[in-house]
């Protein structure tokens, strides 16, 4: 009987350890109405040249700067075969309070929070940018967008949905209108997009007017609402 209690205690300790390391943010998550949940979808393989990768990194940095302590961050990495949730964590940090409150409080240690924040930053960088230089495979831009749709499958969410996607079809020069015309003629007539996802903002999307024009036409044709609102411009 004594052994049984010992084993039980060990298991509970192990579970606590795992939870405290895997979901380190949990203790930083705030249930209040001020905190937000960010769904960040990374389509790393849609960025082929260094310029666009830099744009993406800049966009993510801008987005990251908007995230505050207690916000939950979920990073989805998409590739040709599907997607995976690479990060789900709340931003570490102790809520602002008076000195006395800090002394009395035992739940948040600013030192620990600082350390956790550092780890969080590293993890975020790895989760968002880790694959970008490794995955140089070809992609189908329409399938990528459809994949985003499949994450939500028509369900409603109040999360901030940020999508890091170039929106440039594979192999197309974003400044060449003929290339877009050809791509349009080849792909659009057979395209069947069934999109129904919550409002999204974009990160690192190509600023080329040809790209914008192309997608506006495609989405209009497919009757899809997608306004390309950049995440850092509220």
């Amino acid at each position: 009987m004594k052994h049984f209690y010992l084993i039980k205690l060990c298991l509970i300790s192990l579970m606590f350890f795992v939870v405290s390391n895997g979901f380190a943010g949990d203790k930083y998550c705030q249930s209040g109405s001020h905190s937000k949940t960010y769904d960040i979808h990374i389509f790393g393989n849609t960025y082929k040249d260094s310029n666009s990768k830099r744009q993406m990194a800049q966009g993510l940095t801008d987005l990251f700067s908007n995230i505050v302590i207690g916000d939950r961050v979920k990073v989805y990495n998409h590739n040709a075969t599907g997607y995976s949730l690479s990060m789900d964590q709340c931003v570490p940090g102790c809520p602002e309070s008076s000195f006395m409150e800090n002394l009395l409080s035992t739940s948040c240690s600013s030192e620990v929070a600082k350390r956790d924040r550092k780890a969080f930053n590293t993890r975020f960088a790895q989760a968002t940018m880790g694959e970008i230089n490794r995955d140089n495979s070809s992609y189908d831009i329409f399938k990528s967008i459809q994949d985003l749709n499949d994450v939500y499958k028509g369900s409603r969410t109040n999360n901030v949905v940020a999508v890091a996607i170039s929106m440039i079809p594979d192999g197309i020069n974003p400044t060449d209108p003929n290339a877009f015309n050809k791509f349009y003629a080849t792909n659009v007539p057979n395209l069947k997009l069934a999109l129904d996802f919550p409002p999204v903002c974009t990160v690192g999307t190509s600023p080329s007017s040809e790209v914008m024009k192309f997608w506006r036409e495609v989405f209009a044709l497919q009757n899809v609402k997608f306004d390309f609102k950049p995440c850092n411009k509220d």
Partner: protein, 509 residues
């Protein structure tokens, strides 16, 4: 060497340049098509007909990167046309016209109703392609619509005329339609056939077989054309029809021979035989014209019906006789006799003509022809009276030609003469000759007597007699003088008493 290199370089540069230009031009055209595709695609999907038509054409032509998709393209163009796009309709008309579809006419009618003149020039051709071969109330209805819409070209007019005459339409009056038909029939065989159905129908107002006979060939038809023959049978233009027509009826005087002739010319052998006979003999208000008769008799002679062929053969032999065509007559008779055909008896019976002709005109006949004739007469089937006649003429030929003949020919003829003549013939010939000699001698004697009386010198009678003897051979044919002289001499030698009696008694027979 250097020069060659330069030429090669220039040529290479030219070819590379041309290839580049071509591929560049292709790319440019494809780029344009892609841009156009992108521009019109969303509009077409939104139902804009102009865009639908343009997109459809891009698909049909395969000009864009979307590739060729004829089915999709045509569907779009058809939809555009269906939704009232005129250009798409014109495009579809062209397509249907090329494929020979009736829909081209349908669409053209639509355009015409809308006041478009696109189809005006091609309407005739479209109608020609789309109207059914057999006239029906439905097709007539369609044609009436076209005619009333202002399409009054030759073809539609012809068809509407046909509809009116068949009672499927009242767009024109019957007389107007009939007048149209007469005009059309002058150059259109189909119309002529239709006209025939009125003109050959006995009792109808338009009945005029003679007109049909005179104009059928002008309309490009032949009496033996199937449709013509069918029409003839339907309207009793047969020997039976000809036979039953009253030949004395006033209106039939010219029409009846026409009916008979048409029946004959369409292949009715009984009719051919009858018409041939009628022309040969000039009966039943047919003029006596052997040359016309020949046409029909020759037709009947080749009949597979032995009775008709045999009758026609008789007519043909008669025809040749009438025409004085000895050689044709003889050739035909020889053919039948030697071939031992069913006409052999007729041919043998008709050899009298040859015998008579030979007798009359042997002097102008070639030796070969003479031998041909006598050889044929040597046949055992030839009646003896013809043989005798020919044999007698052979005697004349020998006498006539005398030394002009080669001895071998003369011998041959003598041999034939011997074979052809009977003993009785020979005796008769001999008697005739003797009589002829006697007559001649008597004539000469009479002449001498007259001379003696004039000169009143009866004493020189002996001298005159001697002169008469010398003059005797000259009285016969001079060309065979030698023979005759000898023969006369022989004759004189044989019957001296008779000559003396004639001369000295001074009396004729």
């Amino acid at each position: 060497m250097m020069k060659k290199q330069i030429i090669y370089s220039v040529m290479t540069a030219f070819f590379v340049g041309s290839a580049f230009n071509l591929s560049f031009a292709d790319e440019r055209s494809s780029n344009n098509a892609d841009a156009q595709f992108r521009e019109v695609y969303p509009k077409a999907m939104a139902g804009e007909t102009g865009a639908m038509f343009t997109l459809g054409k891009i698909y049909v032509e395969g000009a864009s990167s979307a590739g060729r998709d004829t089915a999709k393209g045509m569907e779009l163009i058809q939809r555009a046309s269906g939704n009232g796009n005129t250009n798409a309709t014109k495009y579809m008309i062209d397509v249907y016209e090329r494929s020979g579809s009736d829909k081209a006419l349908e669409l053209c009618q639509k355009l015409q109703k809308a006041g478009d003149k696109y189809c005006d020039k091609r309407m005739e051709t479209l109608v020609e392609h789309s109207i059914p071969k057999t006239v029906s109330p439905n097709s007539c209805k369609k044609l009436n619509e076209l005619y009333n819409a202002g399409n009054q070209g030759t073809l539609i007019k012809t068809e509407v005329t046909s509809c009116v005459l068949r009672g499927y339409s009242d767009t024109l009056s019957f007389d107007e339609a009939m007048s149209n038909l007469r005009m059309q029939a002058a150059s259109d065989s189909k119309s002529f056939v239709m006209l025939m159905s009125f003109m050959l129908k006995e009792g109808s107002k338009e009945w005029d077989p003679l007109f049909v006979e005179e104009n059928l060939s002008k309309a490009g038809l032949n009496f033996k054309d199937r449709e013509v023959k069918d029409m003839f049978i339907k309207n009793a233009i047969t020997f039976d029809g000809c036979r039953k027509m009253d030949r004395l009826k006033r209106e039939n005087l010219r029409q009846r021979p026409s009916v008979c002739r048409m029946a004959a010319r369409s292949g009715d052998e009984d009719a051919a035989l009858y018409v041939g006979d009628a022309y040969l003999t000039g009966k039943d208000y047919f003029p006596e014209e052997p040359s016309e008769a020949a046409l029909y008799i020759k037709e009947a002679v080749h009949s597979k019906n032995p009775a008709i062929a045999a009758d026609a053969f008789v007519l043909l032999m008669n025809l040749y006789q009438r025409q004085g065509k000895f050689y044709e007559h003889f050739a035909l008779a020889k053919l039948e006799i030697k071939g031992n055909t069913v006409n052999k008896r007729t041919a043998l019976a008709s050899l009298g003509y040859e015998a008579e002709y030979f007798k009359r005109t042997h002097s102008s006949m070639g030796v070969d022809d003479i031998f041909d004739l006598v050889a044929l007469c040597d046949s055992p089937d030839v009646p003896q009276d013809f043989k005798s006649k020919v044999g007698r003429t052979i005697d004349e030929v020998i006498k006539d030609r005398g030394r002009l003949m080669k001895p071998i020919e003369k011998d041959s003829l003598n041999m034939y003469k011997e074979k052809l003549l009977t003993e009785r013939d020979k005796a008769e010939i001999e008697a005739e000759r003797a009589e002829r000699v006697a007559v001649t001698a008597a004539q000469v004697g009479a002449q001498s007597a007259t001379q003696s009386a004039t000169q009143s010198n009866i004493q020189i009678n002996t001298q005159v007699a001697q002169e008469a003897k010398r003059a005797e051979p000259k009285a016969e044919d001079p060309r065979v003088a030698d023979d005759r002289t000898k023969r006369s001499e022989k004759t004189v030698d044989k019957e001296p008493g008779l000559i003396e009696r004639i001369f000295f008694n001074g009396s004729s027979r």
